[in-house]
C-alpha cells in the first residue's frame, strides 16, 4: 500500500490518517484522525519497533496494529503502512461512528493584535489630514470614528501592557500540548493542516509546560493560526512542535525541506508596488507580539524573490519558539481564567474587528509592514527577533 499524501487529500479522506516519521513520531494527521492521536502517541514505542522491522524487511507493510489500540479499536481497522521512502502512516478505517470529532467552533476571532487595523487607521487619518478639501461636515463623523478607533487601539495596548506587567502574578502551569490541541479544536476554519509534533519522551509527566498567561496565549495562538488558515494556500501545512523544555514552534510552508536553504530577498524598489503572497506573512506581527509578551525567539526565513520583478514574495516560513521556566520566586499561582484582562482584551479586539474588516489577501502592504519584512529578509538569511522573558 503506497500513499501519496498531501494536506488536501488528507482532509478529504473519511478515514483517519496519521503520518509518522521514520522514528515513529507523529508528523501530520487529518481531521478524522484527531481522536486517535493520543492513543497513537501512547503506543509510539510499539509502533516504532514495528517500523524498524518493516525497514529491515522483517515485516511486510501494511500490517494490522489494531491490537495495540484494544480499548478504542473495537469499531475500527487500523493499519501501519508506508507513505513514502522515509515515512509511515497509520490508517484508521472506522466501521461505525468513531470517537467524537473536533467540536464545532463556538466563536470566531479576528486578528487580535490590531496591526492591520492600525495601518488602515493611519492611512485614513493621513488622508484626512493631508487634504483639507476632505475635511468638512461630511467627513466629521468619519474623523470622529477614526479617532474613536485609535482610542480603542490605545486601550488595547494598555491591556497588553497589563498582561506583561502581571505575568508573574497571573501565572499557572499548563501542558502546552493540551493547550495547542484546544486552540486547534476551536478553530472555525482549517485551510492549512496542522500537525503536532511533541518531541517528548514517553513519560507523560515530562510534557512541556508553560508558566504565564495561558488564556491570553491561547487567544494569541488562535489569532495566529487563523491568520495562517485564511491566508495560506490550500496545501499549506502548519507544524507545531511542542518541545521537551515546554517551548513550542509554529512552522508554515514546506517545512520539511525549507529551513536553512533559503536565500534572503532583496529590498523592494518601491513600497507601494510590493504585494504579499499570503496574508500569513502579516501574522508575523502577531508572532512579534507573542514574543514581546512571553519572551522567546521569532526566526523568519525569507522566500526567494522573483528576479524579474525584484519584489519579495513574502516569508517562506517562520518559527516561533517560546521559552518557559519556573514562575518567579515568591509569586503564588493564581488561576488565570479569573483574570479579566485577557477577556477584556478579546472584547476590544472583537469590537475593532467589527468596525474595520480585514484586508483581503494580496492587498497592498502598509509601509511599516513592508519595512519590517524588508529588514528581516535582507539583513540575513534568517533573522532572530528576541526579547527576554519578563
Amino acid at each position: 500500500m503506497n500513499l501519496t499524501l498531501n494536506a488536501a487529500l488528507l482532509e478529504k479522506l473519511a478515514e483517519g490518517v496519521i503520518v509518522l516519521g521514520n522514528d515513529g513520531r507523529v508528523t501530520d494527521f487529518n481531521r478524522a484522525a484527531v481522536p486517535w492521536i493520543k492513543a497513537c502517541q501512547e503506543r509510539a514505542a510499539e509502533i516504532d519497533a514495528l517500523i524498524r522491522q518493516i525497514v529491515v524487511g522483517e515485516v511486510q507493510a501494511p500490517v494490522s496494529i489494531a491490537h495495540l489500540f484494544r480499548a478504542s479499536s473495537a469499531n475500527a481497522d487500523i493499519y501501519l503502512c508506508k507513505s513514502g521512502p522515509k515515512s509511515f502512516a497509520v490508517l484508521i478505517a472506522t466501521r461505525q461512528a468513531g470517537p467524537a470529532a473536533i467540536a464545532p467552533p463556538q466563536d470566531k476571532y479576528q486578528s487580535l493584535l490590531g496591526e492591520d487595523f492600525r495601518h488602515e487607521l493611519s492611512d485614513l487619518r493621513q488622508l484626512l489630514d493631508q487634504d483639507p478639501a476632505h475635511n468638512g461636515p461630511q467627513t466629521s463623523p468619519l474623523q470622529k470614528q477614526s479617532n474613536r478607533l485609535s482610542r480603542l487601539l490605545v486601550a488595547m495596548e494598555q491591556l497588553c501592557e497589563l498582561q506583561r506587567s502581571d505575568i508573574g502574578v497571573y501565572a499557572r502551569q499548563e501542558s502546552l500540548q493540551t493547550m495547542v490541541q484546544e486552540v486547534i479544536a476551536d478553530l472555525p476554519t482549517r485551510r492549512g493542516d496542522y500537525s503536532i509534533n511533541t518531541e517528548l519522551s514517553s513519560k507523560p509527566d515530562t510534557q512541556g509546560t508553560l508558566y504565564g498567561h495561558v488564556e491570553w496565549l491561547k487567544v494569541a495562538i488562535k489569532g495566529l493560526l487563523l491568520g495562517i488558515g485564511e491566508g495560506a494556500p490550500t496545501d499549506c501545512q502548519v507544524e507545531i512542535r511542542v518541545r521537551q523544555n515546554g517551548g513550542f514552534s509554529v512552522m508554515t510552508g514546506n517545512f520539511s525541506s525549507a529551513f536553512s536553504k533559503k536565500k534572503s530577498a532583496p529590498v523592494p524598489e518601491t513600497a507601494s508596488d510590493a504585494i504579499l503572497s499570503t496574508a500569513a506573512d502579516i501574522r508575523l506581527a502577531i508572532c512579534q507580539r507573542i514574543v514581546a509578551l512571553h519572551g522567546g525567539q521569532l526566526r523568519v526565513v525569507g522566500m526567494e524573490a522573483n528576479t524579474a520583478d525584484r519584489h519579495p514574495r513574502g516569508i517562506e516560513s517562520f518559527t516561533l519558539t517560546l521559552p518557559t521556566g519556573a514562575p518567579p520566586q515568591g509569586h503564588g499561582l493564581v488561576d488565570c481564567a479569573k483574570c479579566l484582562y485577557p477577556q477584556q482584551a478579546e472584547l476590544y479586539a472583537q469590537d475593532l474587528a467589527f468596525l474595520l474588516p480585514r484586508q483581503p489577501v494580496g492587498a497592498k502592504v502598509s509601509k511599516e509592514e513592508l519595512e519590517c519584512i524588508s529588514r528581516i529578509t535582507t539583513s540575513a538569511a534568517t533573522y532572530e527577533y528576541s526579547n527576554a522573558a519578563p
Binding site: 470622529k144 479617532n147 474613536r148 485609535s150 482610542r151 480603542l152 490605545v154 486601550a155 494598555q158 491591556l159 497589563l162 479579566l340 484582562y341 477577556q343 477584556q344 478579546e346 472584547l347 476590544y348 472583537q350 469590537d351 467589527f354 468596525l355
Partner: protein, 120 residues
C-alpha cells in the same frame, strides 16, 4: 464637551475607560466612593461610570444611592460597571436608580454607543 466621571479603585480600569471615552468626553476620575461623591458635587458630570466593588467606606451601590438622594440639580446618568453578573445585584442597582449595568469584561463599543445615544 460633556463630562464623564469614572469611579473605580483599579487604576488600570480607570485608565482604560478614560482612554476609550476620552476623545468624546471630558474625563474625570475618582478612586473611591468618598472622592466620587465629592467630585460629583464639584464637577456635576453628565454621566458616571461606577464600579460596584470598591474598597473604602462606600461601595458602588452606596455611592449610587447617595448621589441619587443628593440635590445635585440635574441628575447624571449612572452606569454601573462590575464583575458581578448576578441578577440580584443588577436589580438592586436598578432600584437604586442606575441607568445601565455593564458586566466586566464589557464591550467598549456598547459603552460608547450607549453614552452617545443618551448624551448625544
Amino acid at each position: 464637551m460633556k463630562k464623564v466621571l469614572v469611579v473605580d479603585d483599579q487604576a488600570e480600569m480607570r485608565r482604560l475607560l478614560s482612554i476609550t471615552l476620552g476623545n468624546d468626553y471630558e474625563m474625570i476620575e475618582a478612586s473611591n466612593g468618598e472622592d466620587a461623591i465629592a467630585m460629583a458635587q464639584l464637577h456635576k458630570p453628565d454621566a458616571i461610570l461606577l464600579d460596584v466593588m470598591m474598597y473604602g467606606e462606600f461601595d458602588g451601590l452606596q455611592v449610587l444611592s447617595r448621589i441619587r438622594k443628593s440635590t445635585l440639580g440635574q441628575q447624571p446618568l449612572i452606569i454601573m460597571v462590575t464583575a458581578l453578573g448576578q441578577a440580584a445585584q443588577s436589580n438592586k442597582a436598578r432600584e437604586l436608580g442606575a441607568d445601565a449595568y455593564f458586566i466586566k469584561p464589557f464591550s467598549p463599543l456598547k459603552i460608547i454607543h450607549w453614552l452617545s445615544q443618551k448624551l448625544g
